[in-house]
Amino acid sequence: MWQWFFRLGSPKWFYEMSGKWLPWLLVLMTVLMSVGILWALLFVPQDYQQGDTIRIMYVHVPVASISLACFPLMAVAGVITLVWKMKLADMVAKCAAPIGAWFTAVALATGAIWGQPIWGTWWAWDARLTSMLIQFFLLIGVIALRSAIESPDAAAKACALLAIVGAINVPIIKYSVEWWNTLHQPSSDFSMDENSAFGPEIWVPLVIMIFAVYIFFVISLILSTRNEILQRERRSQWVVDIVAKEQV
């Protein structure tokens, strides 16, 4: 029953299978992203309050939602690393950290660009912004720990543990920041919950963009993990064969 699970953990199996998935994922992402972007930029009606500015939502919301998924992903990979000592899980966790940090940074940057015309400021200590910023710090911490520990094995376990501790903390941080924020200042009039009131001409392209960016994240993660596999398994025969073949 567990056989598929352990086969999934074999770097060689993953390298071969992901090589087959990549072209399909690329095609799917290109189609979804071009449809989503064109729809969002050209055909979505202007917002009655925000005008054309609303269109940045189609980048900001997908990126932000994926950056939130990054810590749980790393924590799950961490549990797999610690419990089953699966090398692949650690490679994925290692590659997910910088990608997640980039997504968080992009979410913060697009949020600032969106906030400038709407709130009149690039930065506000809003609950969502603040907890995003702290999540960014947490990811930087994991990356820093990884680069500080020389032995890859110890680094894998240490980062797995830190990711789990961080994942337990992320909701606590999120709720404490929200609690702090609602008491400090009236919460901003901007809320994503209003989405539910939007018509389908607004949210359908948003859903398309979320899927497109999700696939983009998966592709980045797979590409980065494949590099990591080649680097770590460089002494095994199948990697030597692949490199020899590519050079011809």
Binding site: L145, A148, A154, L161, L162, V165, I172, S176, V177, L183
Partner: protein, 245 residues
């Protein structure tokens, strides 16, 4: 010399009883006593966090303003942030000396549950570096013109909050104990984790001076303390095993 003597004391308490027969509680007490003794013999380790706390707090008037009204506004946050930084700075002592002289390995090899051994080290560390900061805080709060109604809240929130900082910090120290340059990476790892404590603690002190009821603040801090008391030593123990191997 005293280090080795005390290490022997842990592994062979009460004459020559076999190690596995030593009860968890007496091993806990022995670890606690040993750490307290070592700390009492190193006066600097006792004094440095306090001095650091004092200096950082006195930087705020110099950097912000000497105007009592402005200082009153920032007092709660300034004292809390300084306490946070002081506890971060003192964390480095937590496992390092034990790591360097090998007694940490003895601790990991002992048959008693590592959770309690780590908890004992955490408690003694907090008694030595956290409690003095808490006791000194009213004086510094006075220097920053904190309203008088908030003094007890400040002491109580620090009393509940600084152990959480020590417990969280211990995880970071345990993860980085084997590394050459730890200072900054420790702060980068641990500081984001301490955000909830800072938020609730500082907010409680501000609210106390405004006359807001504080039940929820204490409940939240207590919940964080209970959570970190039960889980953080487990994480530290696991991290120590990773670092020492």
């Amino acid at each position: 010399m005293s280090d080795t003597a005390n290490t022997v004391n842990i592994s062979q308490p009460q004459g020559r009883a076999p190690l596995a027969q030593v009860s968890t509680f007496s091993a806990f007490k022995a670890t606690l006593k040993r750490d307290l003794l070592i700390a009492l013999k190193r006066r600097n380790d006792l004094l440095n966090p306090l001095m650091f706390f004092l200096i950082v707090v006195s930087l705020f008037p110099l950097g912000v303003s000497s105007d009592p009204q402005e200082l009153t506004r920032i007092a709660a946050g300034a004292v809390w942030v300084s306490a946070l930084l002081a506890s971060m700075l003192s964390l480095d002592n937590l496992f390092r000396a034990d790591y360097e002289d090998g007694s940490l390995e003895q601790l990991l090899l002992s048959p008693q549950p590592l959770y309690f051994m780590v908890l004992a080290k955490n408690i003694s560390h907090w008694l030595i570096s956290g409690l003095p900061v808490v006791l000194l805080s009213p004086l510094l709060a006075y220097m920053l013109y904190l309203p008088a109604d908030a003094y007890w809240t400040l002491v109580l929130t620090l009393l509940l909050g600084t152990p959480v900082l020590s417990l969280f910090g211990a995880i970071g120290v345990a993860l980085t104990v084997g590394l050459g340059s730890r200072g900054l990476i420790l702060a980068v790892i641990v500081l984001p984790l301490t955000v909830p404590v800072l938020i609730i603690g500082a907010k409680a002190v501000v609210d106390a001076s405004l006359g807001v009821p504080l039940g929820m603040h204490y409940a939240l801090l207590g919940a964080l303390l209970a959570l970190s008391l039960s889980l953080a030593p487990l994480a530290s123990a696991a991290a120590l095993k990773i670092s020492v191997n």
